[in-house]
């Protein structure tokens, strides 16, 4: 979205363009239901429309920038109860996804987290299609 001086409230609380700002209420230590938007890479990974996820964070995308973000290639693929961004993915990219929660905390030997499985598969397919460049 070409905000060259985009800032994070945690490291630059007085900056003018706080694209990442303090959440209205901290999600540290909480589990929240995330609604997954159909038609996204994220949805392909989950195969479900909701997921309970564990959060440890207090900062997120500033809703003030929602419109600007929407206009660009970054898509919100998962939202919290009030529509706040919880998962974003980059359209036009093979696999570029970020979550506000920590899928690694709910992943286990018997049941790896679907987003982590999809990511590992994407890296494996990158590896096999770039053998010549190694």
């Amino acid at each position: 979205m070409r905000v060259t001086d985009a800032a994070h409230e945690e490291t630059a609380p007085d900056a003018a363009k706080l694209v990442i700002s303090k959440l209205e209420c901290s999600l540290v230590g909480s589990t929240q239901t995330v609604k997954i938007r159909p038609g996204t890479l994220t949805y392909q990974a989950y195969g479900t429309e909701t997921a309970a996820e564990q959060f440890r964070c207090s900062y997120g995308l500033n809703p003030k920038y929602n419109r600007q973000i929407k206009a660009g290639p970054l898509k919100v693929a998962g939202v919290g109860p009030d529509g706040e961004a919880r998962i974003v993915e980059l359209s036009g990219h093979f696999f570029f996804l970020a979550t506000l929660f920590l899928p690694q905390l709910s992943s286990s030997q018997g049941m790896p987290h679907p987003l982590i499985s999809s990511y590992v598969k994407a890296a494996a397919s990158f590896e096999s299609s770039h053998m010549d460049k190694n």
């Binding site: 945690e10 440890r56 570029f96 920590l102 992943s107 590992v120 494996a124 590896e127 096999s128």
Partner: protein
């Protein structure tokens, strides 16, 4: 396929961080359950703000942005993320 998939974890590893340890464990058990041989390496953010970061990053098939902000070097972390975006590497930020 004999060579392992190489994942770079961009972040400042702290062995006392539950989330960091869980990141390693998740990669290990996921790779195992998919029967995909996988190696991961943590790349401290300060090393990614220095010269030569790109040739380091080029060796990996995927990048994982680790939890734990603020990073020691925000620029380093952003360099890693930008590399993944521009060079088409799978990227997962948590």
């Amino acid at each position: 396929m004999t060579q392992p998939v190489r994942i770079a974890i961009v972040g400042d590893y702290n062995q006392d961080s539950h989330s960091h340890v869980a990141t390693n464990e998740a990669l290990k058990h996921t790779a195992e359950s998919l029967s995909i041989p996988l190696d991961y390496t943590w790349l401290p953010t300060q090393t990614l703000s220095a010269e030569g970061a790109e040739s380091t990053l080029r060796k990996f098939h995927g990048l994982w942005g680790a939890p734990g902000s603020p990073y020691y070097s925000t620029d380093g972390a952003l360099n890693g993320i930008r590399f993944a975006r521009e060079q088409g590497r799978p990227f997962f930020g948590t």
